[in-house]
Amino acid sequence: MRLLKAMLALQEAKGAVTDADLQRLARDEGVPLHRLQGLRSFYPAFREQPGPPVQIQLCRDVVCRLAAGQDHCQRVRAAVGDRADVEVREVSCIGLCDQAPAMLLNGQPRRGRLEDVRACLGGTGSDSACVAGTTPARRWPTDPYASPQARYGSLRRLLAAGRPEEVIASLKQAALRGLGGAAFPTGLKWELTRHAAGAEKYVVCNADESEPGTFKDRLLLEQLPHLVVEGMLIGAWVIGARRGIIYLRHEYVHAAQALRQEIERAYATGALGQGIFGSDFGFDLELFISPGGYILGEETALLEALEDRRGEPRNKPPFPTNAGLHGRPTLINNVETFAAVPAICWHGPDWWASQGKPGYKGLKFVSVSGDVARPGVHCVPWGSTVREVLELCGGVAGGRKLKAFSPGGASTPFLPASMLDTPLDFDALKAVGSALGTGAMVFVAEHRNLLDVVLAQVRFFRNESCGKCVPCRLGSQKAVAMVEQVLAGAREALPVDLGELHETMARTSICGLGQVALLPLIDALRRFPREPSLQSLRRVRS
């Protein structure tokens, strides 16, 4: 973390990390220049030269595209014109999908409508355009504590009279699975990490939520940071770790503030540090701000970043449970997973199980965006139907009919409106050929161009490919180029079958990004035979 922290500090202080900075850093740290160049050029937070005083980062991904139109970025550029003091960069989803279209103005989250941009340019950009903390604070059912004084109650109880094995058994009984999308059984992961050989172990919270349409972790971090910290503490106590890191995407500035306050508070009240609550258990926790990129949410890429390398996913096995940070056993869970643990410990696994619909166990935070009347985050019983979630959000915007929905994030295939009664559940959605993923539900109304929507998802993966392995680096680029050529009328036939290219990427890519990069498009071609926007592509398939 040392090098990246030093580079982030330079970027923050000077607005750039210049060659001269890196030459000094290389000398001070005793590392070769090429290594620093590898880092600076990989992470989007760094720039080689300072930018102009007004820097606009405009989201180009699917939800903002639905909200503001396919040509939104061009219109913003046109509005800015040739002003030398303003820079517009198109960036991947910034996790403000409930406020779409969104932007970062000099790093601060804002709504990004044309009028918002104009207001900023005219110097009247007021705080009213600020988009943070937008979901009103609520009492969430996963927070067992009625008052701030009661917080960390589960940890207190465990430290006083608990056994780590009981926690693992509870997580298993609660059927908790990784809520960052991969659905790995949490109890099993904790057990594996607890039993992994090694005197030194780590706990890492993956707060790098970056998939288009996903923003529930932002809300959890802003409103329930104490549950995330307590979940990590319980994890550390169970596996025997003394050090933890929260890896947060840099765009979540308000979440960073909430986490810093919570960590400070936890140290002050004896929940963090040495001799926690009078026990012999000690745990230190720090916040690490990611220098950027969706791929860092891949857990081994995240570890590479924490080890001051380019965030390129590792070949697996070994898995982090056995060989994670610095080769040591590392417990990595998503924000929502950690935040669920205190309630499961407090109320017991039977309570957690009873929160689900009949036949299902637990609660799920969903991020709802796209063509709905009221986008936002909801905590719903496991097994709720997609239709119920849509109704919670006021139905389809403008009273239109629904065309399709993606139940779980960019990689989860769109399903037709006829499948609205599918329950939100890992297995139920898998059975119909999609996935629950992160629970990022994007709804698309009848008048939309579905090809434009799924192509935006494929472009996202292309844009965020780290480039480490051949199938993903080249396959995603070629696929997008070929489809764009067809749409531009420059190509009458696809030279290779996209399905075959997808198969190669799915079977040979190192990580999940390359494995799913073409899936949204391939699946839509199969699943929506009468969708007008897909006909042009279907006609020219090889």
Binding site: P32, C466, G467, V470
Partner: protein, 226 residues
């Protein structure tokens, strides 16, 4: 090596190896030649070209150059599916290559072109990523020619420079499709801290890094006169 020997089967044949052996190495013991571009036995494997993928019965194929042998493993290194994927990967790489290989014109050992010939590829169906030579050349070094267009980002030069020779000059720079190799803080090779040891050109499998002939160098030294 410690621990007991591991026994596994590769393409139906049984082999016993010490722990820490990769599938690629075990296959070599059996005389099975798994194609690979990014690996070279003197180096730590990185598993990025994916040509060496094999089927170990998992959801995805495993890169045999990095995947360690496990006791009882059943490995398939040749099948119609695997050949199909290897062909697709070769096509992806070829679509970015210059029309002719500088390596074939010098040392004659371009591993990518050789692989393509073995696969009987005579046509590249993708949009031509090499048209106009967008990735550029770097002729600044007096002894090594750099053609970024021919680079397949196998990382062999990086490991050759940094791990084998400890000269620490080369990195991957950039990200995704725009990633490429770079020297120091991304300066031309001739202005970098390169000591012209030649390791990078020796281990490069394509025409990306090739030796310049001395007569070429002599010409430059003489101010361009013949």
């Amino acid at each position: 090596m410690s621990g007991k020997m591991l026994t596994l089967t590769i393409d139906g044949r049984t082999v016993s190896v010490p722990p820490g052996t990769t599938i690629w190495e075990a296959a070599r013991l059996l005389g099975i030649d798994i194609p690979v571009l990014c690996h070279e036995p003197r180096m730590e494997p990185v598993g990025v070209c994916r040509l060496c993928v094999v089927d170990v019965g998992e959801r995805t194929l495993a890169a045999s150059c990095v995947r360690l042998c496990e006791d009882g493993m059943n490995v398939v290194s040749q099948s119609a599916e695997i050949e199909h994927h290897r062909r697709m990967l070769t096509l992806l790489l070829l679509s970015e290559q210059p029309e002719s290989s500088a390596r074939e014109a010098t040392t004659g050992d371009d591993a990518l072109y050789a692989l393509a010939r073995r696969q009987g590829i005579d046509e590249i169906p993708f949009p031509d990523g090499a048209r106009g030579h967008p990735r550029g050349r770097d002729d600044s070094s007096p002894v090594i020619a750099v053609d970024h267009q021919a680079c397949i980002l196998c990382d062999r030069c990086i490991r050759g420079c940094n791990e084998l020779q400890h000269n620490h000059v080369i990195t991957r720079s950039g990200k995704g499709y725009r990633a490429r190799i770079a020297f120091d803080l991304d300066v031309p090779m001739g202005s970098s801290s390169c000591v012209a040891c030649g390791e990078c050109a020796a281990v490069c499998p394509t025409g990306a890094l090739t030796h310049k002939a001395l007569q070429h160098w002599r010409r430059e030294w003489a101010g361009g006169e013949e």
